[in-house]
Symmetry: C2
Subunit: 337 residues, 2 copies
């Protein structure tokens, strides 16, 4: 059984561990600095499907199937799948995974969803109610643009603070493991923070305060300090958001130094790939976690890291009604022992 | 720690119990047979807000605040809130609950969400990582109609198989409890089932096969029989769906008899209130569970019941793309000891 530490953090004591992980991505992501880290690349981002939504659904099915294959597991071995995406009614997840026959729990945390699914998959292990649970998320540039902003054919101009939604998906199989492995040790689930940002093209700024709040809470609860971790990753704050995040942390006495990076800044080569403030989307933190990050922990390059995915909980309807953008961030502490 | 029973059911052994519950609803629901069971009624379904979406958000905030009040708890006592609704990007949940400052995990299971949030809130107790968790969902007739079908002003005709989305919300506080209480004893999380129904005005038929599959699985895993339960409730199959559900169960040897009812059939007086096939929406099963059902268990009228909420995981986009409607159903066994 797990236990609570401080105000808002939990320590998992039943050893929920990463059994396997897989990532898939599109052409633009393959051309970025992490290109050789992904398990499967789709040069044709339609994946030969008839709509962008169906293409995104396929991304999720692909990453889950790859993760199961690596774990040498069949779909019937999996007790729960926690899946989410950015589309209305979590369409990519439901339609992408409906053939698999795995008990399905749809998640929505916007771009924070990868940390959310990972937390809940680990919780089912911690509760003793699952042998294997899967966490998966996806996003697709083309389905996101048309749903949240403009259809691609419109040819809208992107603002300097805009981020580029990643076409990709990441999936992780979690199991109870006594042997050394990659363990989900601590988790801090975030509260919604809304400081009044309204610009849907500046989501990094909308998410940064939530990110700072969750991470401060984690450091206070665990009585640790940023420098104690091999690496600290945020999900997709991008350039604007991650600078703001560092500033907010510093104001509260936490210096976020050289051991920090943002998945949204890691996945593209900013100057060359014209992505403005960086990558974003559920698939951003998912595909970076399920490639470079978990590979590096597996290779013992890093032994103790923080992964915090951040989400902007707005919808086109809320923006049209003049609402501000609520942010949320969930933190997972992964350790290799 | 909990344990798995059979293929797909879990037994919770750390006593996750209902500490308090509350329900709120609109005018039409108040005029129905359960009118005197709800905690708060809004005769004006705008709740004096400027949009239907904001009105729905208020419904969620109201039911959560009422449940906390009854439990004599403050928002800071709650470790997690599992919240969901039918709107794009779970808008009612995020905007309704953002002021509360409770660690937030957005859920999407369409109309199955009340069982999903209840299962996950119980799981955090089972895992020992929460003292108190809240499960809440909502729906609103007007926000749903305009998102999934037509704006009200259009004055579209409703088909005979159409269901009426409930304006309402239900919230439950879950805690670990050694003393006698209302316990979440078993849970069966469902797989997605899609038999090819395409009619968004006949969601009962789309959900019935998933409902039958989950419930059969529960009876097989627990080696029990429908007649052993005081009552069996489905979420919102409505008239068409619940008849189909009973037929499917009978075909597999399970006679669903007099101890069965459907929240969608209970909430309105069908002949008088012109709701066609019955009520639906996340708020349907939530408000019936958090009024009549839990009140009756608390009063020891029923001691052992099954509550299974059912969801149709389609989106307007998937329907426009010619997709069929995937169904899902999650079952919770509530016992009073």
């Amino acid at each position: 059984m797990g236990k609570r530490i401080g105000k808002n953090t939990v320590l998992m004591e039943n050893n929920p561990c990463v059994k396997s992980f897989a990532s898939v991505c599109g052409k633009k992501e393959a051309q970025g600095p992490l290109g050789n880290q992904f398990d499967k690349i789709f040069e044709d981002t339609t994946l030969e499907e008839s709509s962008w939504e169906k293409a995104e659904s396929r991304l999720q099915a692909e990453s889950v199937n790859l993760a199961l294959e690596k774990a040498n597991l069949k779909t019937q071995d999996i007790n729960y799948i926690f899946a989410g995406d950015l589309l209305n009614q979590c369409m990519s997840s439901a339609f992408g995974l409906r053939e698999l026959g795995i008990p399905f729990l749809g998640q929505f945390g916007a771009c924070s969803t990868m940390a959310q699914t990972l937390f809940l998959a680990a919780t089912t292990i911690e509760a003793g109610i699952a042998n294997y649970s899967v966490a998966v998320t996806s996003s697709h540039f083309c389905s996101s643009e048309r749903q949240f902003r403009f259809p691609l054919n419109y040819g809208g101009q992107r603002t300097p603070t805009a981020q580029w939604t990643v076409t990709g998906s990441g999936a992780i199989v979690i199991e109870h493991q006594n042997n050394p492995g990659i363990k989900i040790k601590h988790a801090t689930v975030g509260k919604i923070v809304d400081l009044g940002i309204k610009d849907a093209n500046n989501m990094g700024a909308a998410m940064a305060p939530a990110a700072a709040k969750t991470m401060q809470s984690f450091f206070e609860d665990t009585k640790t300090h940023p420098s104690e971790y091999d690496m600290i990753f945020t999900g997709d704050l991008g350039e604007v958001g991650s600078n703001l995040f560092k500033e907010l942390m510093l104001k509260d006495g936490f210096h976020i130094g050289e051991n920090y990076n943002d998945c949204g800044l890691m996945i593209y080569q900013k100057e060359v790939q014209d992505v403005h403030a960086g990558g974003s989307g559920c698939g951003c933190s998912a595909s970076v976690l399920c490639s470079l990050i978990l590979r590096s922990i597996k290779a013992k390059k890093w032994k103790n890291i923080l992964f915090m995915a951040t989400g902007a909980l707005m919808s086109p309807t809320s923006s049209q009604q003049g609402e501000t953008i609520p942010g949320v961030a969930h933190l997972i502490n992964l350790v290799s022992e």
